[in-house]
Symmetry: C2
């Protein structure tokens, strides 16, 4: 054993001060207009709207879902960022993925019974709540939506495949370049970019835990990457300066990203 990242105390994860917001009807959901998201029929939207049991506001640092428990809910991210992670007994942490607006959370728990991972809010967030036991209704009433759920699961599998190659077979610079570019592109697609800059709410520690390296090494890798002048990342603001240059360092062809469902 070696591999860095022990933290004795659960430094983040404050007490989960949550709140119930008022309900925006799905018909007026601001996300639904995004061009990357598949158009729903009015019936589909109405069904989903009816499935939605409420909204949840959580503060940054809150654990939305917890490894080892079974959640009664599924969530859609309306606003804010989160990350999915697993902890080992001795405190090592691996971040599996980040969640952005329009992402769907908790399916594994709905299907398994017990969560095998945790999810923590990176920023203040707004989530749509769907009761887990009504997922079955969706399957019996709306094949199109069931297909979407499968689609979503298959796509996260793709992301994970990418991460596995990334961590298993590539050096620190390649990994880092790939991750930053990946997160930039995702944010950009959601209209979160201003010019070529995005507000990244995560820290170097999060990046290190995503890429399976130590904080110190992540820091030094970022320095080297900055020296390449393909990007800049200071005070939570990420700027993409040379997309092709960064892509070249990542040594990668980005897989095609399609229009996707949003439940």
């Amino acid at each position: 054993m070696t591999k860095s990242r022990k933290r004795a105390a659960p430094a983040s994860s404050r007490e989960s001060a949550v709140g119930q917001g008022r309900r925006i009807p799905c018909e007026k959901c601001p996300l639904r207009a995004l061009p990357v998201l598949r158009k729903f029929t009015p019936e589909e939207v109405e069904f989903v709207s009816n499935l939605k049991s409420g909204e949840l506001n959580v503060e940054a640092g809150t654990n939305i879902l917890l490894q080892g428990t079974n959640s009664a809910h599924l969530y859609t991210v309306l606003a804010g960022w989160a990350f999915r992670y697993k902890m080992l007994a001795d405190g090592r942490r691996q971040i599996l993925n980040f969640a952005l607006p329009s992402d769907f959370l908790g399916l594994q728990g709905a299907v398994a019974n017990e969560m095998q991972h945790s999810i923590e809010a990176l920023t203040d967030m707004t989530l749509c709540i769907f009761p887990r036991e009504r997922l079955w209704e969706l399957y019996t009433h709306y094949p199109s939506l069931s297909y979407d759920v499968t689609w979503i699961a298959a796509r996260s599998e793709q992301y994970l495949d990418e991460s596995l190659v990334n961590i298993g077979r590539r050096g620190a610079m390649e990994r880092m370049a790939y991750l930053l570019l990946h997160m930039y592109v995702r944010a950009e697609k959601l209209g979160l970019a201003k010019g070529s800059a995005v507000q990244f709410p995560f820290t170097q520690q999060h990046v290190a835990d995503t890429l399976g390296m130590s904080l110190v090494h992540a820091n030094k890798t970022l320095k080297r990457l900055t020296a390449s002048k393909t990007m800049r990342w200071k005070d939570r603001t990420f700027e993409l300066l040379d997309r092709d240059g960064l892509l070249a360092i990542a040594g990668y062809e980005m897989p095609p990203e399609h229009v996707r469902p949003f439940i």
Copy 2:
């Protein structure tokens, strides 16, 4: 860049000498009796049987699915072992997962359009073929089966999560112990174990590519692991000698494995 595993020539992957076997009706499928697999209703079985368009026999080394192409089929493994992998441009390889009898292959391609990974047969295999374009029928006619497909996708996500923690945050011994135990358990559940021994059809190179390490290091790690007397692996035969001991080295709680669907 570093991170091992370049191979100039595609050493394995012979020419895909395949063959069409005769058709076993799903009602008589030998796998369906396995206690780990969920019981299907007669209607479900009949529907699946009708969906099945044929059987495929492939030799060890054949590429069943290829990164960058779009396959017209979905497969269920009836017999034999395979592995899912991705290659980088310079020849580095990352194995993502292994496929055993009862596993479902090709969903990502069905849902995306273009495969983002390849699958290669480790042994001679028999596969059930399902035409991809009829997947939609399944969604419209059988919510229960659609739910199963989602279930399967969510479960592979869980496997990938595990692998990510494994590669990202654990040392060579831990990784190795975990992988071997994991593969043993999977094989055992399918009735492939004799006493406490299983025939593993993969080589040390495959293990190395799964764990994101070099062949040499995998070999040395295996030596050290053998010295612990918790297992033995010689001439393709793996023997589990001390389950708890190996589990302790893996430093892990195995997640609960449930009864699962088999399409």
